[in-house]
């Protein structure tokens, strides 16, 4: 029992942060699945969602602010795709990736300009940020809500992709971009939809994440973003269940490492895990192998 009370908090923190990574990771994995693009700006979109919340609550009631965060983040994701990625559709992949780095740089600097470089206190969302005690461990309610909500969202997303028309189009596009285009799939709207879904999940993720870790800084999205991306690669990029499982594994491992006292290496561990999996199974846990055609 004592062992549980001692170690439960690490596990809870791991599962909770894992769920938050999962929500971000889905955005990475879906975009990569279709465009073969590491959307470096995704973590920063997540950060902007946090900032919007900070400013929104000062002028409107909480429910409205939550709604605004979702709408504005989705709009931002859509806009970024249209402005920075769409013009480069025919360019080499490296150009698009660099454009993504540029967007990330721009968003961070904009946030720096607006906030004046200071950490902004994320507002407490009622109910979510209440303190609860389970098995002798005290935590915020959001810790418990996150994994549940994550799994619900992933299941809904899975159904959406499996049974709706746009979902099918997405699957087709991620399997073979050119052919699906020839088959009459409106590739641009499919891509936009991908970004919309990714941003929506990032917005939800930001609410959960920043409720737990309440400081929003211009670089607040960088690390979670990178880790979520690692989770996506870990699980096999392009695979949604893979991303989710990868995210939970990384979240939990990270916290266990901290619990053991190897804090210097908690970030490094994530990358070490990534490199090991890339070398052992380059396509990740659930990725598909592609054969080069000669």
């Amino acid at each position: 029992m004592e062992w549980i009370t001692k170690n439960l908090p690490y596990l809870m923190a791991g599962i909770s942060v894992g769920g938050q990574y999962a929500l971000i990771a889905i955005g990475y994995t879906m975009v990569y699945g279709i465009l073969r693009l590491i959307n470096f700006a995704h973590g920063d979109i997540f950060m902007v969602a946090g900032l919007i919340m900070v400013y929104a609550v000062t002028v409107m009631p909480m429910p409205l602010a939550l709604l605004l965060v979702v709408v504005a983040t989705v709009a931002l994701g859509f806009l970024v795709e249209r402005a920075a990625y769409k013009p480069l559709r025919s360019a080499p992949r490296m150009s698009v990736m660099i454009s993504a780095i540029g967007v990330s740089y721009l968003l961070q600097n904009l946030a720096l300009y607006i906030t004046g470089g200071l950490s902004q206190q994320y507002p407490a969302i009622p109910w979510l940020s209440d303190t609860v005690t389970i098995l002798g461990a005290t935590t915020k309610r959001v810790t418990l809500v996150t994994p549940v909500l994550t799994i619900i969202l992933v299941v809904v997303l899975g159904l959406l992709i499996k049974y709706t028309k746009v979902g099918m189009a997405m699957r087709a596009a991620s399997r073979d971009f050119e052919t699906s285009q020839l088959m009459g799939i409106k590739i641009n709207s499919v891509i936009s939809m991908t970004f919309v879904i990714g941003s929506f999940l990032a917005a939800v993720g930001s609410m959960l994440y920043f409720t737990n870790y309440t400081g929003v800084t211009p670089t607040a999205g960088a690390m979670p973003g990178l880790k979520a991306f690692v989770a996506a690669v870990f699980g096999g990029i392009g695979s949604i269940p893979g991303a989710v499982i990868g995210a939970f594994i990384i979240g939990i491992c990270e916290n266990i490492i901290k619990g053991v006292g190897w804090t210097t290496f908690s970030d490094a561990f994530t990358f070490a895990l990534l490199i090991v999996i890339l070398i052992a199974k380059p396509t990740g846990l659930f990725g598909e192998k592609a054969i080069d055609k000669v």
């Binding site: 200071l118 206190q121 870790y213 690390m223 901290k258 619990g259 210097t264 970030d267």
Partner: protein, 400 residues
């Protein structure tokens, strides 16, 4: 093709500005206090306005600005000089510090004030040293800053002192035998203060559990859990205000019942705001307790309230931080040095600084042979979570 032409022209234009730029004398243009006529002396302000230490840097700068507002001129060698502040953001980052410092050097500063955060101070130090410009550290407490340098001075106490004060305090007040020390990797202030605290605490027969966290980390729950599991009696976390806010929030939600201790950086209303209404027990050591000089307090409060930007930089209210007070005093020390030097020449100012004495709001200031302030007292304050203000606890010094 057209684009290529354009781009090359653009590049050419930029290159030509580069060449033009070097013909010009370095203009002290950055801060536009219109130097209408008469002579101008430039005081550089080398402070973070963004990044981890942005909040603290801004509060310190505020003190300097207020002092400049109160005393905008100085008489040097019988002539009236307008003091122009040239404020440069070192972005709390050790690798941006040298270029920020170079900006001040090229702006022709006679003396520089700063910086909040020991790491950036050390990182920028050599640039000033090469240019022969003296620097007055305001609240950078790491001993390495002044050690071996003749151009770096400081008006605050040092980390070995502060660490000992806090170790004594935890031992005397809480009877603590076990402390949890959490420092940030790569942050000289945090690592240094943590180190001296550990040294002093262990000398008192206590036990210390040391942990570190990485830059960009915002999840402190595991650390708090560990502290609880290890049975620590105090939690010492010398860190930036940014980290402090996160830490306090998570400590409260995890029900950390032991006192949270920190150094001078936490003397900020960011901490008060974060702690307000929460079940946390916070103690900090600092340079000044509000109410120490009612006249000064009233003046600066009025000024802060009259200026929206200043108020925002102070964290949105008019609590007077120890940092602001130190900034204020540093400005007057610089003026004293300028007066004593009788010249705006940095080398002369540097010479004059050794003998400057000044009675500031935070106490008497004079420098020892290393360039450090002779200070022997620190204030311990406790965050009142109901009123959202600091309560004075003790004035503590080290029994040698």
């Amino acid at each position: 093709m057209k684009k290529r032409v354009l781009s090359v022209l653009l590049a050419a234009a930029m290159l030509s500005t580069l060449l033009a730029g070097c013909e010009k004398k370095p203009e002290a243009a950055a801060d536009g206090t219109e130097a209408a006529s008469g002579d101008v002396v430039t005081i550089g302000v080398f402070e973070p306005a963004s990044g981890d230490n942005g909040a603290g840097g801004k509060q310190e700068t505020l003190g300097i600005q207020y002092a400049n507002y109160v005393t905008p001129t100085v008489e040097i060698g019988g002539k009236e000089y307008t003091v122009q502040l040239n404020i440069v953001d070192n972005e709390s980052s050790n690798d941006k510090a040298p270029s920020a410092a170079a900006t001040l050097v090229s702006a022709g500063a006679s003396v520089v004030l700063g910086s909040y955060g020991s790491g950036v101070s050390i990182a920028g130090s050599d640039t000033f040293k090469e240019a022969g410009i003296p620097v007055i550290g305001v609240t950078c407490t790491n001993p390495q800053i002044t050690e071996g340098n003749t151009h770096y001075f400081r008006i605050c106490f040092l980390d070995p002192f502060q660490g000992t004060v806090l170790a004594n305090f935890s031992s005397d007040n809480f009877g603590a035998k076990k402390a949890y020390v959490l420092t940030k990797l790569g942050d000289d202030y945090s690592t240094g203060l943590g180190h001296y605290f550990t040294e002093a605490f262990e000398a008192l027969g206590g036990e210390v559990i040391e942990e570190t966290f990485q830059e960009g980390n915002s999840d402190f729950t595991s650390y708090i859990t560990s502290a609880k599991n290890e049975g620590a009696e105090v939690f010492f976390a010398p860190s930036s205000t940014e980290v402090a806010a996160l830490l306090i929030e998570q400590a409260a939600s995890q029900g950390l019942e032991i006192p949270l201790l920190a150094g001078d950086t936490w003397d900020s209303n960011v901490i008060l705001n974060a702690a307000e209404g929460k079940n946390v027990d916070i103690y900090v050591s600092t340079f000044y307790q509000e109410g120490g000089n009612p006249e000064f307090d009233a003046g600066i409060k009025e000024w802060i309230n009259s200026d929206a930007t200043a108020k925002a930089n102070n964290g949105g209210d008019d609590t007077v931080s120890g940092l602001t007070v130190m900034g204020y005093d540093a400005y007057y020390v610089a003026l004293e040095a300028l007066k004593a030097a009788g010249s705006t020449d940095p080398a002369a100012v540097n010479e004059a600084l050794w003998d400057v004495t000044y009675t500031g709001v935070s106490g008497d200031i004079s420098f020892n042979e290393i360039g450090d302030a002779n200070r022997d007292a620190a204030y311990i304050k406790h965050a009142n979570t109901e009123t959202g203000a600091w309560d004075f606890v003790a004035e503590q010094s080290v029994a040698e």
